[in-house]
């Protein structure tokens, strides 16, 4: 006889935390979108198991930034990014990039659930953002919850505030 058991989100989070403690880290996902000073939009999909991998990936992708004195560095358990201390590298990078105006704009979507995580390696995929249908296709191809994360709550409100229109 089969039993069906319901788990709430917290139980699943705890279970995943336990697995990570015993060395079974899951591949996590982020989406970063930037606009360069010349106005070019760039999307970056990032996969990593942990912070050490993230630091390596960012170091490779942004090698021209790593020599900056303000580039995120670890102070004890905290990360220093743009004169503010953060508790993780990703937030410190966004803080650093914003403070030192490395991009005209930067947005970071966290907690993305990676599709086919078993077949993916830590790394980064970058692409231009001038065709929204191609960007959303990439996001859906790589993450289970990208659409859900990006079309609800604050992110959506922020987007709708930016909308502008004219008609004749």
């Amino acid at each position: 006889m089969k039993h069906l058991r319901e788990f709430d989100d917290q139980e699943i989070q705890d279970l995943m935390g336990d697995l990570e403690k015993v060395g079974h880290e899951q591949l996590k996902g982020w989406y970063m979108q930037t606009t360069s000073p010349s106005g070019e939009g760039m999307g970056r999909i990032i996969f990593a198991h942990n912070e050490a991998e993230l630091v390596k990936i960012f170091g490779k992708e942004f090698s021209s930034f790593t020599g900056d004195s303000g580039y995120p560095n670890k102070i004890g358990q905290a990360w220093n990014g743009g004169k503010i201390l953060y508790n993780n590298f990703i937030d410190a990078f966004v803080g650093y990039a914003s403070y030192f105006e490395k991009f005209m704009s930067i947005s970071m979507i966290k907690d993305l659930k990676v599709r086919d995580a078993g077949s993916k390696k830590p790394g980064l995929i970058s692409f231009p953002t001038f065709n929204s249908f191609l960007v959303s296709e990439q996001l859906e191809k790589n993450f289970y919850n990208a659409k859900e994360r990006m079309t609800s709550g604050d992110f959506r409100e922020e987007f709708e505030d930016e909308m502008d229109s004219i008609s004749i």
């Binding site: 005209m104 953002t129 990006m150 079309t151």
Partner: protein
């Protein structure tokens, strides 16, 4: 009994031409992906013009309306313009490169939902929302943009 009749592309074009001659032409649609700039107000990334108009000149005039002085005559401003890139260059020159936009891609052949001329600016910061709104403006936005990912350069 119902009959199925096959039309060739040319038949449809001829029919649309006939409708145009009697003033019943369907509205046309364009999506223009741009990166706007303003030296006093930094760019926030990709935006899209979603334009529904009777013809290209009207589309150029609606885009120009956003950027040039009110007193300037829109019709004469766009008279010698042949494509959206040329239009952006003329607009940028008219502001002494203080503000304007760079064309990243142009898609034509869009089927507008609206029956009236209109021009919308859609922020591209959220690809899902931008795609949703573009699909509200044109019934074939997704198929046109995925079939030609880079769009035309002009």
């Amino acid at each position: 009994m119902k009959h199925l009749r096959e039309y060739e592309e040319q038949d449809i074009k001829d029919l649309m031409g006939d409708m145009k001659t009697i003033g019943q032409a369907p509205m046309e649609g364009w999506i223009v992906s741009i990166s706007s700039f303003d030296v006093d107000n930094p760019s926030l990334g990709t935006k899209y013009y979603a334009i529904t108009a009777d013809n290209l000149k009207e589309a150029y005039a609606m885009v120009s309306e956003d950027w040039i002085y009110e007193e300037e005559d829109l019709v004469s401003f766009v008279e010698d313009i042949d494509n959206f890139t040329e239009l952006s260059e003329k607009i940028n020159d008219s502001t002494d490169q203080q503000m304007g936009f760079v064309v990243l891609g142009v898609w034509e052949g869009l089927r507008p939902i609206s029956k009236e001329s209109e021009s919308f600016i859609i922020d591209g910061i959220n690809p899902f929302e931008a795609g949703r709104i573009l699909s509200q403006k044109f019934s074939n936005a997704q198929s046109v943009m995925t079939a030609n990912p880079r769009g035309n350069t002009e």
